[in-house]
C-alpha cells in the first residue's frame, strides 16, 4: 500500500485519490473473500485426514449429499458419514471458532491498547482460565463432593460434571481476570500501560495459584492439568458448538460494530475523545467482549497461544490497520492458522495426537523471532 518512501512525492488529483481509497476497500474485500474461501477449502481437507483417511470425493459426498441427493453419489464406506459428521466436523468447527475468537480478541486488545504485543495472554486471561481449570481438576471433589463424578443432561445432551466444572471454572476465572484489571484501572485518567501492567500482575498471581494446584495434585491430576494447559481440540461434540457458536457470533458482531471507534483510538486517547469517542467505555466494553469470546473457547480447548498475536500482525502487514477489515481478516487468519496446526497435530504422529498447543508454541516462537529481527512491530504510539 505504501510507496514513495523518502523519495520525491507527486501530488495526485482529487479524483485519483477517491479512486485510491476505493481501490484499498476493494483490495481488502478481495482479501476477505480469498481468506474465507481458503478457510473453507482447508476445513474440507482437514475433514479428510486423521487416523483414518477419508477420500475427498467421499467427504464431499457426506457434506453435500443431503443438499443434492440426486447429483452426488453415496460415500464408498458407510462409516465415513459417522467419522466426518460425528467425530471430525465438530472438531473442525470448534477449531475454526477458536481461531476466529483468538484472532478477533488479539486484534481488538492490540487496537484498544495500541500495543502490538498485547493478547489474551498478556492481560492474564489465559492464566486465569488455566487457574480455574486447575482448581476444578485438583479440588473438584472437595468443592462439589460426589456430584463431581456424576453426569447430567441439558436439552438432550449429556455432560459429565467434572468436564462441565472445568469448563465453567476456567470460563469464570477468565472473566474474573479482566474484571480485576478493569477494577484496578477504574480511574478515568489511567494510562493504557497501566492496563497492560495490571494484566501482567494478575497473570503472575494466578500463576502462583496454578503452581499451588500442581503442588497439591496427584500424578493423574498433574497430567490432566498439563494436558489442559497444552491445549487440544479432541473429544469435541456438537453440544460444545451449540454453546460456543452463539457467543462467538454475538461478540464478533458487537466487536465489529466497535471497530470504527477502535480505528480512531489508534491516534491516541485525547484525539479519540475529541472525535466524540467515550474512550473509557470503548476500552472497557472491547476488553470485556474480547475476553468473553476468548474464554468461551479456551474453556473447552485449553490454552492455545500465539494466535491472538500472529493473526492480527500478519493481516495488518497485508491489508493495513483499518479495524473494520482487520477484525474479520484476523478472525479468518486465526481460523486458518489453527486449522492447519491442528490438522498437522493430528497427522504428524498418527494414530497418536500431539497437543496443538505445542505446534502453536513452535510456530509462535519462530514468528516472534522473525518479527523482532525484522523490526516489524510497527508501533510508534
Amino acid at each position: 500500500m505504501e510507496n514513495n518512501v523518502g523519495g520525491e512525492v507527486s501530488r495526485p488529483g482529487a479524483e485519483e485519490l477517491v479512486e485510491v481509497y476505493a481501490g484499498w476497500s476493494r483490495k481488502r474485500l478481495v482479501f476477505l473473500l480469498s481468506m474465507s474461501l481458503g478457510v473453507a477449502v482447508v476445513s474440507v481437507l482437514a475433514l479428510c485426514v486423521g487416523a483414518v483417511d477419508v477420500p475427498l470425493a467421499d467427504t464431499v459426498s457426506v457434506l453435500f449429499r443431503g443438499l443434492m441427493p440426486g447429483l452426488i453419489a453415496e460415500p464408498s464406506n458407510p462409516h465415513y458419514a459417522t467419522i466426518i459428521t460425528e467425530m471430525r466436523a465438530p472438531r473442525i468447527v470448534l477449531t475454526v471458532l477458536t481461531g476466529v475468537s483468538l484472532g478477533i480478541a488479539g486484534m481488538v486488545m492490540q487496537g484498544l491498547l495500541r500495543n502490538p504485543l498485547v493478547s489474551p495472554f498478556t492481560l492474564g486471561v489465559s492464566t486465569a482460565s488455566s487457574f480455574g481449570a486447575a482448581m476444578s481438576i485438583v479440588f473438584g471433589t472437595a468443592l462439589f463432593g460426589t456430584a463431581y463424578y456424576t453426569s447430567f443432561s441439558i436439552l438432550g445432551m449429556t455432560f459429565s460434571f467434572s468436564s462441565f466444572s472445568t469448563v465453567m471454572m476456567s470460563f469464570v476465572f477468565g472473566l474474573c481476570s479482566i474484571a480485576i484489571v478493569l477494577f484496578l484501572t477504574r480511574d478515568s485518567n489511567v494510562s493504557r500501560s497501566t492496563v497492560i501492567l495490571s494484566g501482567v500482575i494478575i497473570s503472575y498471581i494466578f500463576q502462583a495459584g496454578i503452581m499451588f494446584a500442581k503442588y497439591a495434585s496427584d500424578d493423574d491430576q498433574l497430567r490432566e492439568i498439563a494436558l489442559w494447559m497444552m491445549g487440544g481440540l479432541s473429544n469435541v461434540t456438537w453440544s460444545t458448538i451449540v454453546i460456543v457458536l452463539p457467543v462467538v457470533l454475538v461478540c464478533g458482531i458487537y466487536l465489529e460494530k466497535l471497530s470504527s471507534d477502535i480505528n480512531v483510538l489508534s491516534s491516541g486517547d485525547d484525539v479519540a475523545r475529541n472525535l466524540g469517542i467515550d474512550v473509557r467505555k470503548l476500552r472497557n466494553r472491547g476488553l470485556v467482549f474480547s475476553t468473553l469470546i476468548t474464554t468461551v473457547c479456551i474453556a473447552f480447548t485449553g490454552i492455545i497461544g500465539f494466535i491472538g498475536l500472529m493473526a492480527p500482525h500478519i493481516c495488518r502487514m497485508l491489508i493495513g490497520n483499518d479495524s473494520r477489515y482487520l477484525l474479520p481478516a484476523s478472525a479468518l487468519m486465526g481460523a486458518a492458522i489453527l486449522l492447519i496446526s491442528d490438522t498437522f497435530s493430528r497427522v504428524v504422529m498418527r494414530p497418536e495426537e500431539l497437543p496443538v498447543g505445542i505446534i502453536m508454541y513452535i510456530i509462535g516462537g519462530i514468528f516472534f523471532i522473525w518479527l523482532v529481527c525484522g523490526k516489524k512491530l510497527g508501533d510508534r504510539a
Partner: protein, 262 residues
C-alpha cells in the same frame, strides 16, 4: 459562535495547574495562549476541548454547557491537535485524515467524507503522502497530517497545542498563514498554544498569557505582548522592534540565573 470559559480550575492529583482562568473566544478570532514551560498551556487546551473535565468553573458554547453536550455534537464544533500524536502501526495518511470525519459518520465513510478529507490533505500539502504510513513520517510531516485531520473535522473552534513545534521555518509560516486564513475566510476561531512569541505577535488577534497557574493577561496582541510582560513572565529582557515588515521581538538578556543542570 461564542466560547465562554469562566473560573476554570484544573490539576493532576494534588497539583493545581490552572486556577480561576477565564476567557471568551468568538468566531473569527485568532487567540494565542502563551506562557513559560509548565504554565498550563496544554492543560488549558485539553480542558477547553473537554478531553479533561474541569475541576472548577464552567465551559459554555453559545450559552450551552460543554459537559452536557453530546460527544459527537461537540466533536463537530471543537477540534483538537495535541502536541504529540500517536499512530499505531500500519495506518496511512489518508486514513488518519479521514478519521476527522468520524463525528459525521457511523461505521463507514460517505463520498462527501472522503472528498473533505482529500481537500484537507491538499490544504496541508500532504496529499502526496496519502499512502505513506504515518508512523514512518518525520515529526513535521506528522504535524501537518494531524492539522489536516483537524481541518477535515470542519469545526467552528480549532484548538492547537504547539502546532508548529516540529515544523521547519517555511512550514511554520505556511501553517500559520493557513490558520490565519481559516479565521479570516471561513470565520473559524483558533485557540493556539505557542512558544514562539514572534509567531504570536505576527498572527494573533488576542493573546492569553499564563503564569503560575493564573491568567497574567488577556487582550489584544499589541497590548499584551510587551517588553514588560516578556520580562515578568519569561524572565527575559527583550525589545519589540518595528520596521516596514512588522513588529518582532528581539531578546538580549535573561534575568536571574539559569539553573545549572541546563
Amino acid at each position: 459562535m461564542r466560547f465562554e470559559i469562566k473560573g476554570l480550575g484544573q490539576g493532576y492529583g494534588d497539583r493545581t495547574v490552572l486556577e480561576d482562568v477565564s476567557l471568551s473566544a468568538e468566531s473569527g478570532e485568532f487567540i494565542t495562549v502563551l506562557g513559560p514551560n509548565g504554565s498550563g498551556k496544554s492543560t488549558l487546551i485539553r480542558t477547553i476541548c473537554n478531553v479533561m473535565s474541569p475541576r472548577q468553573g464552567s465551559l459554555e458554547i453559545d450559552g450551552r454547557a460543554v459537559g452536557g453536550m453530546d460527544r459527537k455534537e461537540l466533536a463537530r464544533i471543537v477540534s483538537y491537535v495535541p502536541q504529540t500524536c500517536a499512530s499505531f502501526g500500519y495506518t496511512t495518511v489518508f486514513e488518519t485524515v479521514l478519521m476527522g470525519r468520524r463525528p459525521y459518520s457511523e461505521w463507514s465513510y460517505s463520498e462527501d467524507d472522503i472528498r473533505k478529507a482529500i481537500d484537507a490533505m491538499k490544504v496541508m500539502s500532504v496529499d502526496g503522502l496519502h499512502d505513506r504510513y504515518v508512523s514512518n513520517l518525520s515529526g513535521g510531516q506528522m504535524q501537518r497530517v494531524f492539522i489536516a485531520r483537524s481541518l477535515a473535522q470542519d469545526p467552528e473552534f480549532y484548538l492547537f497545542d504547539e502546532p508548529t513545534s516540529s515544523l521547519d521555518l517555511k512550514f511554520q509560516l505556511e501553517s500559520m498563514n493557513i490558520m490565519r486564513s481559516m479565521v479570516k475566510e471561513r470565520g473559524s476561531c483558533l485557540i493556539v498554544a505557542l512558544h514562539d512569541l514572534n509567531l504570536a505577535l505576527r498572527f494573533s488577534d488576542k493573546v492569553l498569557v499564563l503564569k503560575d497557574s493564573h491568567v497574567y493577561d488577556f487582550g489584544p496582541v499589541s497590548e499584551v505582548i510587551t517588553p514588560r510582560m516578556i520580562a515578568e513572565v519569561y524572565g527575559v529582557r527583550a525589545d519589540i522592534v518595528e520596521n516596514e515588515r512588522g513588529r518582532y521581538i528581539q531578546p538580549y538578556d535573561y534575568i536571574g540565573t539559569v539553573p545549572c543542570d541546563l
